[in-house]
């Protein structure tokens, strides 16, 4: 279930997008699941329906969800639109950014890996 926190470091739009990405990644939302309507989710969260509509269209552009005319919005079958090389390049960039940030914090590599593993744990549970 998506939750909105006001005063969060992310705007409402981003919280909705991130919330669905995470739920799809953890398997909490399976392909074929029907999502609430724009208005339904907006009412549930007490947010402007246009903001939900914007989040849905960003997720549609990412290929995460699809709208079926007159039926509703559904979680898509996972499909990789990017080549392995491109995904690998993005992974490396993200990791470089992470490393440059944490390197100055003075932690032992083990502790950093532990923290990373903890963040990845929900994803690992899904694939096992």
């Amino acid at each position: 279930m998506i939750q909105i926190t006001t005063g969060d470091s992310r705007p409402v739009f981003q919280q909705i997008v991130d919330g669905f990405r995470m739920q799809v990644a953890t398997g909490e939302l399976l392909p074929g699941t029907k999502l609430p309507s724009t208005r339904g989710l907006a009412m549930q969260l007490t947010v402007n329906p246009n903001t939900v509509a914007k989040a849905y269209s960003a997720l549609t552009a990412e290929g995460l969800i699809e709208s079926r005319q007159g039926v509703g919005v559904f979680v898509c079958e996972p499909r990789q639109q990017l080549s392995y090389e491109e995904r690998r390049r993005r992974l490396d960039t993200a990791i470089q950014q992470l490393v440059t940030t944490v390197i100055t914090l003075g932690f032992e590599p083990d502790e950093i890996l532990d923290a990373l593993e903890k963040e990845l744990a929900p994803l690992l549970r899904k694939s096992s």
Binding site: I4, T6, G7, D8, S9, R10, P11, V12, F13, Q14, R39, A42, M43, L45, T46, V47, N48, P49, N50, T51, K54, Q97, T101, T104, L105
Partner: protein
């Protein structure tokens, strides 16, 4: 033909004695959606709305509302504008039922279903006197009437001030899901960022009588970033940090909020002597706060 803009001002200025309340304000608010107007106290919000509605005349410049010159507003045009004011000033001696009956006669587009739907969120009975209502109930009563009149443009000025969480929730739900409809424009003035985040399609930041920023909340947040730096010598002037909105010294670290800077700012800060630099995400609340309190060293748009 309907104008594409519900509110247009051109070089609008207003001075009260020596105080300049509005300075050369030029802005256009497009039709549709929720425009959230924010600004510090004294930013000119109430002056602006009084001029727009023809209650006050400007010192110079012009303004149009629903495509009509503010000074030429006819009762018919006024009837297409709904107002909900912070004080929810309703005649205290009247019964709710009588007040509603009065308004029903005034507005040709009056919609009983809309009125009933909004009132359903609030526990108010027709035979109660206005003076017996709580603040939240008065807010609900005035929103119900403003929406039932079927306004093309609804202006709300700090409508939830002093409301408890339950009344506030009922108010926002009614506003968004009964009040929000195709083609209607809602102008929402508030200092409460938690509400702004929920309702706004578009942010209008008013500052010192000028429009400082017009953007979707997520686009505005994208432009602002937060940096924690260590080791920046006090000799490094805040003025040499590009895009700086706000700088604070917290336990030896300098915390910076900047506008329109990419990741390369990190390198730049290291170049200025910072030994550690960390970029953190920033929420709407802090972003707006930094924007409104930015000092004279910061870039003006």
């Amino acid at each position: 033909m309907m104008s594409d803009y519900v509110i247009e001002t051109s070089a609008l200025s207003k001075t009260f004695g020596r105080k300049q309340a509005l300075r050369d304000l030029t802005m256009s608010l497009p039709r549709g959606g929720v425009h959230a107007v924010i600004g510090s106290n004294g930013a000119g919000k109430s002056t602006l709305f009084r001029i727009l509605l023809g209650i006050l005349s400007p010192s110079s410049g012009s303004s149009r509302i629903l495509g009509v010159e503010s000074s030429q507003l006819t009762p018919e045009v006024r009837g297409r504008i709904g107002l909900v004011h912070e004080e929810h000033t309703l005649p205290a001696w009247m019964k709710v039922r009588d007040l509603v009956a009065l308004n029903r006669r005034l507005y040709p587009q009056w919609d009983d279903d809309v009125h009933r739907e909004v009132m359903g969120h609030f526990d108010v009975h027709g035979d109660q006197k206005i003076s017996e209502l709580s603040r939240g109930e008065r807010a609900g009563t005035s929103l119900a009437m403003a929406l039932a009149q079927g306004p093309e443009l609804l202006i709300l000025d700090e409508p939830t001030l002093g409301l408890d969480v339950v009344a506030k929730q009922a108010f926002l739900q009614s506003l968004l899901f009964v009040g929000g409809q195709e083609g209607r424009t809602i102008v929402y003035c508030s200092h409460q960022m938690d509400e702004i985040e929920r309702v706004a399609d578009n942010l209008v930041i008013l500052e010192r009588g000028e429009v400082a920023c017009l953007a979707a909340p997520e686009d505005f947040c994208e432009r602002v970033s937060y940096w924690v730096t260590e080791g920046l010598s006090p000799r490094v002037a805040n003025g040499s940090i590009p895009g700086l909105l706000q700088a604070r010294e917290i336990e030896g670290q300098r915390h910076l909020v900047v506008l329109d800077q990419g990741d390369d700012l990190g390198e730049r800060l290291r170049g200025l002597g910072a030994v550690s630099v960390q970029r953190l995400p920033v929420g709407l609340d802090r972003a707006v706060n930094a924007y409104l309190t930015r000092g004279h060293h910061a870039p003006r748009r």
